[in-house]
Subunit: 338 residues, 2 copies
Amino acid sequence: MSRARILVTGILFDTAAAIFAKHPSIEVIRAPGPEPWSRDVLIEKAKGVDAVISLWPQAHFVQDVIKSAGSSLRVVGVDSIGYNYLDLPYLKEHSIRLGNAGTSNIADATAEIGVFLTLAATRRVSLAQRALNSGNWKDWNGDLTFFGSATLLNKTIGVVGFGNVGFGVAKRLSGFGLGRILYHSRSQKLESETKLNGLHGAGFCIFCPTLDDMLPQSDVVVIAVDLNTSTQHLIDYRRLQLLKPTAVLVNVSRGAVIVQDDLVRSLKEGKPAAAGLDVMTPEPLPTDSELFQFPQITLLPHIGGDSSDALADAQTVAVKNVVQALVGEEMESEVKLF
Amino acid sequence: MSRARILVTGILFDTAAAIFAKHPSIEVIRAPGPEPWSRDVLIEKAKGVDAVISLWPQAHFVQDVIKSAGSSLRVVGVDSIGYNYLDLPYLKEHSIRLGNAGTSNIADATAEIGVFLTLAATRRVSLAQRALNSGNWKDWNGDLTFFGSATLLNKTIGVVGFGNVGFGVAKRLSGFGLGRILYHSRSQKLESETKLNGLHGAGFCIFCPTLDDMLPQSDVVVIAVDLNTSTQHLIDYRRLQLLKPTAVLVNVSRGAVIVQDDLVRSLKEGKPAAAGLDVMTPEPLPTDSELFQFPQITLLPHIGGDSSDALADAQTVAVKNVVQALVGEEMESEVKLF
């Protein structure tokens, strides 16, 4: 049997590349310098490889690299939690296994941005920053009700999706003196509930089988679901009307979970009262997007997982997944496709 | 004995005003409508009152109101934690007691902004927002090391001042997977340490008797001290040089705790790597301030305590303090001046 060959689509941190040193039987094909290979070079190098490690900068064309690999390809490892840039039917059809970075610190990094956007929305930070930057600080100083800011004390947080990101947001916010944490998810997450209730008392964290029941009870709604066919356009105009007039909306999942035109329409009518969005449609967001017209929204350019330490950790998980699959061990974080 | 008389300098939330209803023996003097009285009217109305309740919008001239009250004045209640706008020697000389809002939710509101600014600085949010707003999102997309963002996982937080605000920041951040929390304070705060170590294990929260020892160990330095003669200009050029090159600085205390010109000089030289400032010198900050020139700083217009629920609670504490003093009960939050 010939040596197994892995193609890496981009530049690895040293900590991730170090894993290969323990597996001299595997051949690693990657750009030798600090510059990544082009799309054309990667498609050429892919021919006949056993595995592809897909890094984020090259993700938008990695499906072409995967197809170029052909029938030898057995496993793909990605350095992100989401993988909506892959052609899943193709992977299934060719029995190609998939590993994601679901167990990496990317989820922690994203949860941090979830907390950041929650505070940005509840404390109306974008309005305050606008006053500061335009020299109008004095105009509202003292009129503390001017911009509707409220603390998280005794508030109810409703989390949509209770995986590593959603639970990560809930765990962090649970130290802010909340009243309750509600969550909606495909299934009840007893282990996560038990952790939070152990710290804050029985009944602090509550499963809501029906999203429509959770929305009217929540002061903050945090969207942290995976994007898939059942979550696409989950938050539409009808559901936005279920929010309290004072509720704020945070999205650290994917833009397509919200019907963005419906959000714009509902914002114009006053709901949600404020929002924090790390994700939107399309990305990058055109600077003439209507979303920029709402001073009560804090927008971020999809930086949820973007931190140097989380990225290094995500690459490490991507490399581990692929090496484990090639040497016949259980993958650290496999997305079961078949 | 005639009825005790309280002058309220501004407009009270209903929840705070409701306390007076339980004390019909006290005469309350306050503006009847939604508009506050002017400085001149307040100075006239103050003559001969027993107590003054000082609300934030009128704080900048409240000392004149206090002097107008004359020798009848026995107690002043303020709706803020800090009280550097009062003439403390005058209060002492005239045996006037002082109550502040130290036990109110203002500390929680400020701690939330401390967490917000910590995440803004560590995740380089201001740089990301600049890219988004200028249409340069694509330019750095994928180059995740571009702006030096890092998560709080395993990081060391150094908190300067461990009162309600400093501990409030520490308690909230302790759920973010930190390595350790160090704090510097006039005295060791065993009760606060025990709470954090109970959740995160012995050695998680550590008292640093010397600020100069704490600064070089910290990945994030959060300033949360009271401003007084011993903390004014505490953070000067020499101390800024003790920071790690990667460290970020957050201030939710008062601008004068930092020598601002020293901070500007040190930022130009690269330290701290990023910052989050809710307070600065002077306030309001002129729009031509050099602080606006640093894209790695997130600035807020002193909104730490500014939330409608925290303000209502602070007013409630201010009213309680004054009523308690007049009826001979212990004050909920007295600042001992004599």
